[in-house]
């Protein structure tokens, strides 16, 4: 399911079960070399021929020198996720001679060759390393052939950052990850270095191959110690290379393309995963296809051994040695080891009071998933500004989990968002704005960020402060221009301006909305109506707006169109009928209105608003007995159920609980 698809499904589920959490998503498997079980890819060759048909007893595996029992051998071809990293950084001379379109076309040609090697179940992803890490192509199936639509360069080299981004991709269960990177061997601006890449590679569950590329265009850069970028205020940064360029060798003599210390580290990183560093030939450019073909054949035909480490301590580096019983001519290739974290002693959980008031208690409740107590504590917060100040001063309680901190920030901001104190609200909005920037995935918008925006927008709509919500809607749409829920949020927030902001903003001296406001609301609702995922809600809300400006015939038409498809959300079904009743009353169609109100009652029997509306129209019809009976019903109902009408103006606020639950699950 695509991110957009999954989000739409979420929104539908949220609408159907407003106050119930969804099932938690399947957890990703970041490192298959986990605490209990280790998976090792092993390829066995006999000369140029892959050796097949081996069983567990044919292998000997030692972990830090201790022989292990192989529990399972899998030889089936599993789907492959291929990440290609292409270095497009470099000299001004090269970039001057090469347009982005030309470079993209060349890359597309190479990609097309790689795609022909893949099977339908495989996926490919493409990074370009320049000043920034560019995700040129997210994981895509090989067919239909994905296109390289945009490629930017003319910058410094962020090679190591790009490698880190590629290697940190969590492996999905039952898929295997191959990273093939082609580099010019220079790095100028990365936040991480070769040593960090080695550490990441050792812990990553990816086969890592790196290809050295040296072209004539880059030699002039290689000969300089710095690279500069005009777009970054002329910043120049020292070039870190991991091999000695060809022309420099001409001056110095010695080995062809000797590796620097960084180069040796990168080579070791590749070897640790079972991959390799592939050296450049004399001013030639090794092809991605050739390198990948070699790696792919090995990888696709390899065995996956599974064992549970015994007789070794868990933490630290685990050297792996795999042998195959049989002819000595067999060549065995596997990763050389893996890194495992020391088991952490579990701290004694902090006791949580029934109504936590302090930041420490609230954080403890949150950490221990005591969410009802966390919520009770939040409701009791008397000084929301102080709470936020303490939170910001304390820093992230989970340094390794910034996304979790962001969700906690969102939840802690809620009392201030709903505060009557402007200073508290402003601080909360600033906090949310800060974290909205922090949750941005530097490579591409991801599902967490999408849910984050949704939760923020839901909360701000609930606070009925459209002025404050407006910039957050704009940010969400900039990041996710195709997200239907955000298009709906756009329209709702604008619609809120009339009843909330009132005459000073969008109404004339008579209190009627200005023509400009009507046009804006109409166009935004119509944009949302064009999106099937939110069309029904957009129509229902647009109809209510039309009724309020006296266009009742059009309102009835919108509500009729909304009913042409099944409406999963009972609240929407209720509101549709309630609003239909009001539009019909305005059209003096009292009996049809009464029928609509009765329909609304059937949808949400305990809701008060439909009863009141039906009582009123019965009185208009002269049926006093029915009206009095309804009045008695209303007065004695005693229902604690939330009437969908009561939260109508709060827009998507009804989804906040589900959105927060989802965010909590995503950040555990």
């Amino acid at each position: 399911m695509t991110p957009r698809g999954s989000f739409a499904a979420f929104a539908a589920a949220a609408a159907a079960t407003i106050l119930h959490a969804q099932d938690p998503p399947r957890a990703p498997q970041p490192f298959r070399t986990g605490a209990e079980v280790v998976f090792v890819d092993v390829s066995v060759r006999d000369g140029g021929r892959m050796v097949t048909g081996l069983r567990a007893e044919d292998f000997e595996l030692t972990d830090n020198g201790v022989r292990q029992r192989i529990e399972h051998v899998e030889a089936t071809a599993v789907p492959i996720d291929l990440t290609l990293v292409v270095d497009v950084s470099g000299s001004r001379a090269w970039t001057a001679r090469t347009s982005p379109a030309t470079a993209a076309a060349r890359l597309q040609a190479e990609l097309d060759q790689v795609l022909r090697l893949l099977r339908p179940e495989d996926r490919v992803r493409l990074f370009a390393a320049d000043t920034h890490v560019q995700l040129v192509l997210p994981f895509s199936a090989p067919a239909p052939p994905p296109a390289v639509e945009r490629l930017e360069f003319d910058g410094l080299a962020s090679l190591y950052d790009s490698l880190a981004a590629a290697l940190l991709q969590p492996s999905e269960p039952a898929r295997r990850h191959v990273v093939v990177a082609r580099t010019k061997g220079g790095d100028t601006i990365s936040a991480v270095g070769a040593a960090e890449i080695q550490g990441i590679a050792e812990r990553a569950d990816a086969l890592f191959h790196i290809v050295m590329m040296e072209t004539e265009f880059d030699n002039e850069v290689a000969l300089r110690g710095f690279q500069c970028n005009r777009d970054l205020m002329g910043i120049c940064a020292p070039t870190r290379r991991f091999w000695t360029p060809f022309q420099r060798r001409l001056f110095t003599g010695g080995q062809l393309h000797p590796l620097t210390a960084d180069g040796q580290t990168i080579a070791a990183a590749a070897a640790a995963t079972g991959g390799a560093l592939h050296k450049t030939e004399l001013l030639t450019e090794p092809s991605l296809t050739g390198t990948f073909r070699k790696a792919f054949e090995d990888f696709r035909s390899s065995y996956v051994l599974r064992y549970t480490p015994e007789g070794v301590t868990r933490g630290g580096w685990h050297a792996i040695d795999v042998k195959v019983r049989g002819p000595r001519s067999y060549t065995v290739r596997s990763r050389r080891g893996y890194g495992a974290d020391e088991p952490q002693a579990q701290p004694v959980p902090r006791p949580i009071p029934s109504e936590p008031r302090t930041l420490a208690d609230l954080t403890a409740a949150y950490e221990q998933r005591a969410y009802p107590r966390f919520a009770a504590g939040l409701r009791a917060v008397s000084d929301p500004v102080r709470l936020m100040k303490e939170f910001e001063a304390a820093g992230n309680p989970w340094p390794a989990a910034p996304a979790r901190e962001a969700v906690l920030a969102l939840e802690l901001a809620e009392p201030a968002i709903f505060s009557s104190q402007p200073a508290a609200r402003e601080r909360a909005h600033a906090l949310l704005a800060r974290f909205t920037n922090l949750v941005r995935d530097p490579i591409e918008p991801n599902d967490f960020e999408r849910y984050w925006h949704f939760a923020v927008l839901a909360m701000l709509q609930g606070s009925l402060r459209p002025g404050a919500a407006d910039p957050f809607v704009a940010r969400a749409l900039r990041r996710f221009p195709d997200e239907p829920q955000f298009a709906l949020a756009r329209a709702i927030v604008t619609d809120q301006l009339w009843p909330v902001a009132g005459r000073t903003v969008v109404t004339d001296e008579r209190g009627s909305p200005t023509a400009a406001h009507v046009r804006t609301v109409r166009s935004e609702y119509e944009a949302a109506i064009a999106l099937p995922e939110v069309a029904v809600e957009a129509r229902v809300r647009f109809a209510w707006f039309l009724h309020r400006i006296g266009r009742n015939g059009e309102a009835v038409s919108q509500l009729a169109q909304a009913a042409r498809q099944p409406i999963a959300d009972p609240a929407l079904r209720y509101l549709r009928l309630l609003f239909l009743g009001h539009a019909l009353v305005a059209l003096d169609q009292h009996e049809r209105a009464a029928e609509a109100y009765r329909g609304a009652r059937a949808e949400v029997p305990a809701a008060q608003s439909a009863r009141v509306a039906l009582m009123n129209v019965r009185l208009l019809q002269g049926d006093r007995a029915a009206a009095e009976a309804l009045a008695a019903e209303i007065e004695t109902s005693g229902s604690r159920e939330i009437d969908p009408w009561w939260t109508y103006w709060q827009g998507q606020y009804r989804h906040l609980h589900v959105a927060l639950t989802r965010l909590r699950e995503m950040t555990r």
Partner: protein, 322 residues
């Protein structure tokens, strides 16, 4: 009860309205004083009329010949007049949204108990609480202990469905043989009603009760939301009313039904305001006439005059004939 009065009572089907007369004619401004009680049926109409002198004191001792009633502009014959004889049903609707807290809530509890004690013989009191939800806490009773028990448990929170609450209170105040007063304690803000102002005006014209408002001045500016302490979701805004006492809707509804709007300053004795509303409602004449020369159906505009100099007459503006 005279034969005419008995017949009128039997014929009254629930289309009447009530206004409270200004008993002591104390210091209330003339436009705030409810004065007339009205009931209409297919055959007979009963209308409450308060008559005051220049000093806002009730004028007593008037007879049928002293009144002129115009129904849709047609002079009617007043068949009978009574004064202070019909029992009163008082529906008290209290706004207990999140804006009503602390000391105000305490004073409200005391005022309710006192109001029950102030009821006359045969009078009854019903208590309806509303935030976004409308709840009848006590049905019509004369038992002070029942009211005491009910108000003791009053807790504030949530948003406000003022217009819905008024509509329900007007419709349910329907006992045909009693005068109906609906007394609303509210700041005039509404955030959760499905009933529109136009619809509420229509309901007020088609029901019997007189609407009187006691408005706590300290609570005028409720425009936003409850804190998350509320068990209910934060407050949505659906309609906004201007500040009291300039709230045009409350003023209009009071005038339409012959009622009043009594603003109270912060810290004022709410009991006194409640008592004033009740006293004024109690001290009104009830006129009976059978409409002649007008169509029965539709809206009937009423105009009541007294053949005396320097008096103020207050009655509802009209009624719907069925």
């Amino acid at each position: 009860m005279t034969p005419l009065r008995r017949r009128a009572a039997l014929l009254m089907l629930a289309a009447g309205l009530v206004c409270a007369p200004a008993g002591g004619a104390r210091s209330a401004p003339a436009q705030d004083t409810p004065q007339a009680t009205f009931r209409s049926t297919a055959a007979a109409v009963m209308v409450d009329v308060a008559v005051r002198d220049r000093n806002r004191r009730s004028i007593t001792g008037l007879g049928a010949d002293d009144f002129e009633v115009f129904d849709n502009g047609v002079l009617q014959t007043v068949a009978d007049v009574s004064y202070g004889r019909l029992p009163i049903d008082v529906t008290v609707a209290l706004d207990v949204s999140s804006s009503v807290t602390g000391d105000v809530l305490k004073r409200l509890r005391e005022a309710m108990v006192q109001l029950t004690r102030d009821l006359g013989r045969g009078d009854r009191l019903k208590l309806v609480l509303f935030n976004q939800q409308i709840t009848r806490t006590t049905d019509f009773t004369t038992d002070v202990k029942v009211v005491e028990r009910a108000v003791r448990e009053v807790a504030a929170g949530g948003s406000t469905a003022l217009l819905d609450a008024m509509s329900v209170a007007l419709v349910s105040a329907s006992a045909p043989d009693r005068r109906q007063l609906v007394m609303v304690f509210t700041d005039g803000s509404d955030s959760s009603s499905i009933t529109t102002a136009d619809m509420l005006t229509t309901v007020a014209q088609r029901t019997r009760a007189t609407l009187a408002f006691v408005v706590p001045g300290a609570l005028r500016t409720i425009t936003t939301f409850s804190s998350p302490k509320s068990v209910l979701p934060p407050v949505p805004i659906t309609q906004r009313s201007a500040s009291i006492p300039q709230n045009p809707l409350l003023t209009s509804l009071a005038a339409e039904t012959g009622g009043t709007v009594i603003p109270t300053a912060a810290g004022v004795d709410v009991s006194a305001a409640f008592r004033r509303v009740l006293d004024e409602f109690r001290s009104a004449y009830v006129l009976y006439y059978t409409p002649a020369g007008v169509d029965r159906a539709g809206y009937h505009k009423l105009d009541v005059k007294v053949k005396r100099e320097a008096v103020t007459v207050q009655a509802r503006r009209g009624y719907f004939g069925s």
